[in-house]
């Protein structure tokens, strides 16, 4: 992520009328193969970008439900790690890439399924039905 592929020249940027939005990748429920080091690195990069919890299974057999908020990559898997919060522990934790045997995008993707177009449609329907105080509410804290 930190070494973005250059996509735009300055001329193109300055002339841009509309900035393209992001394509949302549907990762919820995905269990990547992790057959190679590269696959593990790519999957953890996606997990870092994912706005939901994942489940990590370590080589020791321990399973961790985690929200991965950071990753630092080194030359080897042992030198690379992810940082995460778990739903029950208040402190930041980290685990090395080398310890991770399995990754599952198990939690709900909180950035998915909230399309602007749906809100507009929903709004218009409610408005037509005569409803007042129409609004989107943030997700419940459960």
């Amino acid at each position: 992520m930190s070494a973005e592929v250059k996509k735009y020249t300055m001329e193109q940027v300055e002339a841009l009328e509309l900035a393209p939005g992001a394509e949302h990748e549907d990762l919820e429920g995905w269990i990547p193969e992790l057959a190679t080091e590269e696959e593990l690195r790519q999957a953890l990069e996606k997990a870092f970008d994912y706005r939901g919890d994942v489940t990590l299974t370590l080589r020791s057999g321990e399973r961790i439900e985690a929200f991965i908020f950071n990753r630092r990559t080194g030359a080897t898997l042992a030198e690379s790690y992810v940082q995460y919060f778990t739903p029950k522990a208040p402190e930041k934790r980290k685990v090395s890439y080398a310890e991770i045997a399995r990754l599952e995008f198990s939690g709900k993707d909180r950035a998915a399924g909230k399309h602007w177009e749906d809100w507009v449609k929903n709004y218009n329907e409610k408005k037509a039905a005569g409803e007042k105080n129409i609004g989107l509410k943030p997700d419940a804290l459960e």
């Binding site: 973005e4 735009y8 020249t9 009328e17 939005g21 105080n133």
Partner: protein
């Protein structure tokens, strides 16, 4: 002039000190996000989409003070999430006032009126109230009917109690410049100190991915909005940054000027992008590959960005860093920017139906622009 002399003095002497000491990179505004929890679910916001256990987390006052002390920036912006949902926000604000930091507490104001009695007016404290335009526009932008009225009630109460208050607007594609100008009249009539504004950033987690303006469109919109200014309008921003938005100046992004600290740590590289976290501000400055960010880098995530967190710092440094820049800033403060081309843009906008993003229904007063 919207910004008090004491604040300008603090910022100008700070910038000069950095220049005199040869400091290459220094922060101007710390973006302190004490929590991500929010009471709104705005279409253009990509800040709040997290699992509940993350949304329940918040920085302690001690963590906030340690970050502020380490960073050393003279100004602290407290966005979020909604800071007024933090149970210790008063303690945090009072601690920052004791440190003589100029604070912009960014709020949607849904809780402002109720919580105002807990705060004490100070020259160091400004409530920066999120208002994205006139009533219908704001309510649609924040996806909540009635949001505007509640916010305005909070603004008026805060002004009446002697607090410094600004409004803070973000504009996306489809914004009606005539309505924005009428909105400026409305908010200045409420007695606010000044207006803060910005083009929206293309958050890749935001629900709406279709209304992010590119740079050419941003410049056209802001030229229409900010030219031919009325004498009553005050802006709580660098005049040179406003000229940048209007297309009269070019600046390179300075992401280290407004660093971000939140529950995850110090965010690389800026308030808008999340490319990782580090544990200290020093580490942020020393380990971030700054050359990978900003429009000049070609990074597609920076391609449409003209947001203040990257581009107001160079404008401020420009304004306080040389006599030429200072004179330009003074001229910009009093310039009304007469521009017949901008008037044509307003006429063109008035002849088109506004786009869907900021429009619930045609507001009765949207075409009342007088071009005065």
């Amino acid at each position: 002039m919207a910004i008090p002399i004491s604040q300008m003095w603090t910022v100008s002497t700070y910038v000069l000190k950095q220049k005199l000491t040869g400091t290459k990179r220094f922060p101007l505004v710390l973006m302190l996000e004490p929590l991500f929890r929010c009471s709104l679910a705005c279409a253009g916001c990509g800040k709040v989409q997290y699992p509940p256990h993350i949304l329940k987390k918040q920085l302690t006052p001690e963590e906030c003070f340690a970050a502020v002390d380490e960073c050393g920036a003279p100004m602290v912006s407290i966005p979020g999430g909604e800071p007024l949902l933090h149970p210790q926000i008063v303690e945090i604000v009072n601690g920052l006032i004791a440190r003589k930091k100029y604070i912009y507490l960014c709020t949607n104001a849904l809780e402002l009126k109720r919580r105002l009695p807990e705060f004490t007016p100070s020259k160091y404290l400004t409530f920066s109230v999120h208002l994205d335009g006139q009533r219908e526009h704001h309510d649609f932008s924040v996806c909540r009917e009635g949001g505007y009225d509640i916010a305005v009630e909070g603004i008026k109460e805060a002004v009446q109690r002697g607090f410094r208050v600004t409004t803070n607007a973000t504009f996306f594609d489809g914004t009606d410049p005539n309505s924005v100008r009428a909105f400026f009249d409305e908010v200045m009539g409420m007695g606010v100190e000044g207006i803060i504004l910005s083009p929206g950033y293309s958050y890749d987690k935001a629900p709406d991915q279709n209304h992010f303006m590119g740079r050419a469109r941003v410049r056209r919109l802001f030229r229409a909005i900010l030219s031919n200014r009325k004498p009553t309008w005050k802006f709580n921003m660098s005049p040179l940054f406003l000229e940048f938005l209007m297309g009269n100046r070019t600046y390179e992004c300075i992401p280290w000027g407004m660093p971000t600290f939140n529950i995850f740590g110090w965010q690389k590289p800026c308030y808008l992008l999340q490319d990782g976290y580090v544990d200290s501000f020093k580490e942020l400055l020393e380990t971030t590959e700054w050359e990978n960010y900003g429009v000049a880098s070609g990074n597609p995530k920076c391609a449409n960005c003209m947001v203040s967190c990257g581009y107001e710092t160079p404008a401020i440094i420009d304004g306080f860093g040389s006599w030429k820049g200072f004179l330009a800033m003074v001229r910009g403060t009093f310039n009304k920017y007469p521009d017949t081309g901008a008037l044509k843009l307003l006429d063109e906008a008035a002849s088109h139906l506004p786009a869907a993003l900021v429009q619930i229904e045609e507001p009765a007063n949207s075409l009342e622009e007088t071009h005065a």
